[in-house]
Amino acid sequence: MKDSSQKETGCKGNAPRGETLGDALRRQGVSRRSFMKYCATAVSMMALPPSMIPLVAEALEKARRPSVIWLSFQECTGCVESLTRAHTGTIESLIFDAVSLDYQHTLQAAAGHQAEAAREAAMEENYGNYLLVVDGSIPLGNPGYSTIAGISNLDMLNDVAKGAAAIIAVGTCSTYGGIPHAKPNPTGAVSVNDIITDKPIVNVPGCPPIPVVITGVLTHFLTFGVLPELDHLGRPVAFYGQSIHDRCYRRPFYDKGLFAESFDDEGAKKGWCLFKLGCKGPTTYNACATTKWNDGTSFPIEAGHPCIGCSEPDFWDGGGFYRALSMPTENIAKTAVYTAAGAAAAGVAMGALNRAKKKAVSKAHIKITIDDLET
């Protein structure tokens, strides 16, 4: 148990140590009925069968509030903004409120040595059991590019990762290097995966990621004590299992070959497919089209803008947000040819895409356009 002076240094320091999640929710005045409602929603969110609701409730009730240490490296704080501003006081924030966020240098009141003392205390008390959340990439070019309390990002990550039970890389910067990694990558930015190889890591990419995905991963870990099923890029399948394109409400227009050619033409006004305006939906795996943003209001394509593919590796170097996938842009084009062929074959799962295949397609790069598909 922390003493009172220590309690003031962490983000959630007023919560008793060792209490269960059920205790924490009761302390916050959450009724059992509300908790059961949360569990039902969590099960649906994690794509589990409804018969799991009582088991999830039982597991969550007994789960110890995990200590969470959140490290922010080369980032813009957009990921934290996404999480903290999107669902204030709603059901999705319940789990996030119930973890013991012991270090997050943007959110915590303490600063400087006091903040670092809170981190070290949390690490010592929960060694081997705490969750490490990372947003931002790690510069390898020069340690001085990004430091916290005089400690380089690389040293801090290595140090904190040692005692972590698992790592959740939040945002495209920590999962793939993101914008700092974009060419010419002046800081030598890399992802968490590039440095830490001996810990379970779940990638939650997006620029920023959808908040409910972050809380969904936390819920899964709390419930089952393990990370959720991941795809070949380390992303939770429940949220990244389908492409934006597959779940897009404009998909029928794609199938019929009806495309907006510019942002103000008749096609755009009629809500036709944005593929020719550079939409990366066919090669982007994320839950935007179903979970949506701003309390479920809409997502970029619904607002009339093509998907920029922000949850995919190297999206910033894809050759242009407004270039159609079938054009010979750099990395994205390699994917596009394969994707276009997949669409033509009607029913070929886009999930078959992987890096190896992208390379193979790249070698035999044949330009295929929408016009080719329509004929």
Binding site: R26, V30, S31, R32, R33, S34, M36, K37, Y38, A40, T41, V43, S44, M45, A47, P49, P50, S51, I53, H87, G89, T90, I91, E92, L94, R247, C248, Y249, R250, R251, P252, D255, T290, T291, K292, D295, G296
Partner: protein
């Protein structure tokens, strides 16, 4: 038959795949029929997560139209509102949970005599008893 939700509600529900028909209406209705038989024969309850099944908005409306509207319409206020409606098929309930911004966060069809979420929960009953005891003690002093 009356609709159980407005078109606006349907549009909010985020399982839509454009207007493309998925042809999942009949399989779901058959699943409900089997679940009703199990409820009658073995008292076994079933829950179907509508979010887990691809449905176009019009298909969901079709299912709800076919099931119709029953005698019970309850509304909870627990971490945002929830709507519990018995359909025209007694024993088949539509449970919709909303967040505090009134956006749908999950929707289930429950085949049961009464959805558990409607019942008072034991822990809440215990808390209620404690509160009443405390108030009676306060009155006595």
């Amino acid at each position: 038959m009356g609709r159980l939700m407005s078109p606006g509600d349907a549009a909010q529900f985020n399982i839509q795949i454009g207007n493309k028909l998925t042809h999942n209406v009949q399989p779901i209705l058959h699943q409900i029929r089997h679940a009703l038989e199990q409820l009658l024969d073995d008292h076994k309850t079933t829950t179907i997560d509508l979010r887990s099944i691809p449905l176009a908005p019009e298909e969901e409306s079709t299912i709800l139209d076919i099931l119709g509207q029953g005698e019970v319409h309850a509304r909870l206020n627990a971490l945002g509102p929830s709507e519990i409606i018995e359909t025209g098929c007694a024993g088949v309930w539509l449970v919709t949970h909303f967040n505090e911004s009134s956006h749908t966060v999950s929707r289930f069809i429950e085949v049961t005599e009464m959805p558990d979420i409607l019942k008072s929960q034991h822990r809440d009953i215990f808390n209620g008893l404690q509160m009443l005891n405390h108030k009676l003690e306060t009155l006595a002093t």
